[in-house]
């Protein structure tokens, strides 16, 4: 590109793989990833809770790692592999983390659940364990449950961690 004209555009083409499908949208440059997902792609599992990088309800996986999609421009995710809670199950078969959340009653109102589940997927991929209760609580500090249902969430994660070492 030439540097004769100041660079920068007010709209940006974003190409990304979302839940295994190639997607391509042109959006205003200031568009946050969560709004691209919810409003352009119709994927509403990632929710906007606090909108200030605190609650983690907007958590998605960016190239396999948890990020807060309210604090990332859609443009920054260009070229990335994005996974939302909609893309976790394999057809009718729930993802093991989703199964464990059901098994251990790790959700109440469900608002934080998609983000919480993805944060756990990221944690289990990153940390081979064994995990202590403290490890789990610390690793999930970026996800707030407004029902305060942490106890069963931690229980579900510890069960997953135990199962993967047993199996």
């Amino acid at each position: 590109m030439s540097i004769d004209a100041q660079p920068g555009t007010t709209t940006v083409a974003v190409t990304a793989t979302v839940n295994g499908r190639p997607e391509n949208r042109r959006v205003p440059a200031r568009t946050l990833l969560v709004h691209l997902l919810r409003e352009e792609l119709g994927l509403t599992a990632a929710t906007v809770g606090c909108d200030t990088t605190s609650c983690g309800a907007c958590t998605v996986l960016l190239d396999g790692r948890s990020v807060k999609s309210c604090t990332l421009l859609a443009a920054q995710a260009d070229g990335a592999d994005i996974r939302t809670a909609e893309g976790l199950a394999d057809g009718d078969r729930l993802h093991p983390v989703q199964e464990a959340f059901g098994e251990h009653h790790a959700l109440q109102c469900g608002f934080c659940t998609p983000g919480m589940v993805l944060a756990v997927v990221s944690l289990l991929q990153e940390n081979p364990g064994p995990l202590t209760e403290h490890d789990v609580r610390h690793a999930l500090k970026g996800n707030l449950c407004r029902c305060t249902g942490y106890h069963n969430i931690v229980r579900a994660v510890l069960a997953l961690d135990g199962a993967r070492r047993a199996g």
């Binding site: 660079p7 920068g8 443009a75």
Partner: protein, 276 residues
């Protein structure tokens, strides 16, 4: 909340980013991980004309052991410092500071250079770098210079980095400290430290105790004179100008600094006889 309208350009590599900085300076705001900048833009506490996204400048993401220092690329994300064998071996204080940053999601995006450029007086990585007596490399299209980490920030959000420069690397001198400790006191819901302390051998640095991160020279002088931990820690807030703000009062910060410095010195194994 979304940022005000802005222009966006993704730099292809470091060369292009530096050429653009040279040509357009402060009209282009570098965007690294965005974990401080994007919240500020959303809250309209900050405004930019054009974002210069450095996300593709992957050549600045590395940890390297060189002759007399450990080099960390400015665009190394925090999570990459956790469990890195070179960081574990040569600068575990850096890993301890990285572990204290925000939460896993923030650590997956935030970068070392971004934290330095943001110049928050309560930031974790910059505090560790000041205690480690690290050097920050500032590069422009025409050359590079080195600035001590302690002299990079001059006020909250303000650094000596010129409009044509980018923070490209930090260098931690080796051998690293034999004794070290990182301690932060934060309200969990707010994440940011009220006060934090990093100890690296005889160097003690404080965050949250003034407009910039600073060395606790009073403590260091007392230790050099052979004072005990209690006597030295009592001088933690000497020369500090802590803010009175929503996170804590100035008086409480002074108290915290003395308590945290005493704990950090003790935990780091600073073996100085108590006078009493």
């Amino acid at each position: 909340m979304i940022p005000a309208s802005l222009h966006y350009h993704r730099a292809r590599d470091l060369t292009e980013a530096l050429e653009l900085r040279q040509a357009y300076g402060d009209q282009l705001r570098p965007l690294a991980g965005g974990q401080s900048l994007l919240p500020a833009l959303k809250l309209r506490r900050d405004r930019v004309d054009t974002l210069l996204d450095l996300g593709r400048v992957t050549e600045l993401s590395y940890v390297a052991h060189r002759d007399d220092h450990l080099a960390v690329g400015a665009l190394t994300r925090y999570h990459l410092l956790l469990g890195d064998p070179l960081v574990d071996r040569y600068a575990p204080l850096l890993a301890a500071a990285a572990a204290a940053v925000g939460d896993p999601q923030v650590r997956h995006l935030g970068t070392v250079g971004g934290a330095l450029a943001q110049a928050d007086p309560a930031a974790d990585l910059p505090l560790a770098l000041v205690a480690l007596d690290a050097v920050v490399v500032l590069r422009s299209a025409t050359g590079a210079r080195q600035v001590p980490a302690a002299e990079l920030a001059v006020a909250p959000g303000v650094t000596v980095c010129r409009p044509d420069e980018l923070v490209t690397e930090v260098r931690v001198p080796l051998p690293g400290p034999a004794r070290w400790r990182y301690l932060t006191f934060a309200r969990p819901a707010l994440e940011w430290s009220v006060v934090a302390v990093a100890v690296a051998d005889s160097r003690v640095a404080l965050a949250g105790m003034g407009p910039t991160i600073r060395r606790a020279y009073g403590v260091e002088a007392a230790l050099a004179e052979g004072a005990g931990v209690t006597v030295a820690a009592a001088r933690a807030d000497e020369g500090c100008d802590p803010p009175d703000d929503v996170r804590a009062s100035a008086a409480y910060r002074r108290h915290l600094s003395r308590v945290l410095v005493a704990r950090a010195l003790t935990d780091s194994g600073t073996t100085v006889e108590e006078p009493r």
